[in-house]
């Protein structure tokens, strides 16, 4: 699976990178999130799904 962070919705709450730091990366300047390139590693899928559920802005989607 892959994940996508909608830059129009993300407001930099940072919970996704706290939960799944190997899946999401935060911008140094404003803390907004983006997904790291490529497929989510199989052992990170559960954490990625937890990050999706935890996003206060509902900005993250899973691309199967």
């Amino acid at each position: 699976m892959k994940v996508y962070v909608d830059p129009e919705r993300c407001q930099g709450h940072t919970l996704c990178a706290m939960i799944a730091p190997d899946v999401f990366t935060l911008d140094d300047v404003d803390g907004h999130s983006s997904a790291r390139d490529g497929e989510v590693p199989a052992d990170q899928e559960a954490k990625a799904a937890d990050a999706v559920r935890s996003c206060p802005e509902q900005a993250i989607s899973i691309i199967p």
């Binding site: 407001q11 930099g12 940072t14 300047v29 803390g31 937890d50 206060p56």
Partner: protein
């Protein structure tokens, strides 16, 4: 969401009614009951209090409203230059100035945040961690040999204040000019005999802010005040009065909220020693979710006011331009549809989409500071005072939770131990040299590395 005009039928539009007064002691005492009633019957309701206003309590309703910036305004316009909106306080205060960018709409609001983001992003905030650890260590040193501490006065008031001033570019030693007026003016009733003294301390704080801004304008030194002094907002340099509102917002947001979160968490951990032991033992995995859970449950800033800026229908409710709205982060954080067993603290809770830092484009700009400082204080207490016991008879909560859900005092006892290193005054003097020499208060765009403290 739709913007079709709808008939002027107030009785029908306001059929969900709830007498909501968050400024009464009763609201604090019956919070869970009132919240349960609103969530169950009327997640958005019209209240007749404070001139009449909407109250949003439900999680999906608050979510949608807070993110509808095109219909919901934060603007405070005391001089009636635009539409006369009254900002984020309900009732609106008599003071005639805006409370920084939290009482502005884009694009002005965005210009301020863009100026300050490089000081407050996770990467920027993490640079301060060694300094925070040193201030925490020194604060605990002051009490560690006595076996007695007031977690509010001796720790949770001190560390956020020192760090916030350091990030602003204000001398660290000035923290005690700021801490009393910010903390006490939140919980002291206007009729209190203590109010005259607190007013004096507020004047002293305001004078110091003016002095710092003037000094930094004349001789720039790193920090958020410098960023504000140099900022171009809507293509111009803002007036000093406007900047003082912004500095006050950063100070108000940076001090008492983190103090409130820390004191409540420590009180709960004292009441639940097995959970405290578990948090300490499993801190590598548990401290992050536990922090979010304390944020959800105690919601230090319980909500924000707004003004409807255009007729609209949001979350199934019709609103009219000019109507006031209270977004309750605290009540939406107890919605059982989103949080199973919402009135229980579950340190390992997942899917914790709490609203404690607000939502949408006004998300608390200091959220990364709050989390970092909170975690460093909690961990240090767990390490150095692992058996602390708060005294329920002397713990003092704010009488009302309309503005901040905080604590005045939280005395505790613990097994005494030895000091580690120097005390608070010496530490602050030493750290001032580090802040100046390493230019720690530069934005992350200029300085990337963490503080180096020998």
């Amino acid at each position: 969401m739709s913007t079709q005009p709808f008939p002027d039928d107030d009785a029908e539009r306001k059929r969900n009614r709830f007498h909501f007064d968050r400024h009464t002691p009763e609201y604090r005492e019956r919070f869970e009951e009132i919240t349960g009633e609103m969530l169950g019957k009327c997640p958005v309701a019209w209240s007749d209090t404070y001139g009449g206003h909407w109250v949003a309590a439900g999680h999906p309703e608050v979510f949608e409203l807070a993110r509808s910036a095109e219909y919901v305004s934060n603007d405070h316009d005391p001089n009636n230059e635009r539409r006369g909106y009254r900002g984020i306080s309900i009732p609106s205060p008599d003071i005639g100035f805006r409370g920084g960018f939290l009482e502005m709409d884009p694009p002005e609001q965005r210009h301020y945040r863009q100026a300050l983001n490089p000081y407050l992003s996770p990467a920027a905030v993490n640079r301060w961690r060694p300094l925070v650890d040193d201030v925490v260590r020194a604060s605990l040193n002051e009490k560690i040999e006595s076996g007695q501490i007031d977690f509010v006065d001796d720790l949770a008031n001190v560390v956020p204040a020192v760090l916030t001033l350091a990030m602003l570019g204000v001398p660290l030693a000035n923290w005690d000019i700021y801490v009393e007026p910010v903390h006490a003016s939140v919980y002291t009733s206007p009729n209190s005999p203590d109010m005259a003294r607190i007013q004096q301390s507020r004047i002293a704080m305001r004078d110091d802010m003016f002095r710092q801004l003037a000094e930094i304008r004349a001789n720039p030194r790193p920090g958020m005040i410098n960023a504000l002094a140099q900022a171009q907002i809507l293509g111009a340099t803002p007036a000093d009065g406007e900047l003082l509102g912004v500095i006050s917002l950063i100070i108000g947001g940076g001090f008492d909220t983190t103090t409130a979160l820390t004191s409540h968490a420590l009180e709960w951990l004292s009441q639940h020693p097995a959970e405290r032991e578990r948090l300490s033992r499993e801190r590598d995995t548990l401290l992050d979710p536990a922090t979010e859970e304390f944020l959800r449950y105690y919601t230090p800033a319980p909500g924000d006011g707004r003004t409807i800026s255009a007729d609209c229908e949001i979350a199934g409710q019709q609103f009219k331009e000019g109507e006031r709205l209270w977004l309750s982060w605290a009540m939406s954080n107890r919605d059982p549809e989103v949080f199973p067993n919402p009135n229980e603290i579950d340190l390992a809770r997942t899917g914790n989409r709490h609203h404690s830092f607000g939502l949408g484009l006004h998300r608390c700009i200091g959220s990364n500071v709050a989390r970092m400082v909170f975690k460093r204080m909690i961990v240090a207490v767990l390490d150095r005072m692992p058996d602390f016991a708060c005294d329920p008879a002397r713990a003092e909560h704010y009488d009302t939770i309309g503005i901040i859900q905080g604590m005045k005092h939280l005395p505790a006892t613990f097994t005494p131990s030895r000091k580690i290193g120097d005390g608070l005054a010496e530490t602050i003097a030493r750290l001032q040299v580090v802040v100046d020499e390493e230019r720690l208060a530069e934005p992350v765009t200029v300085r990337k590395g963490a503080a180096e403290i020998l």
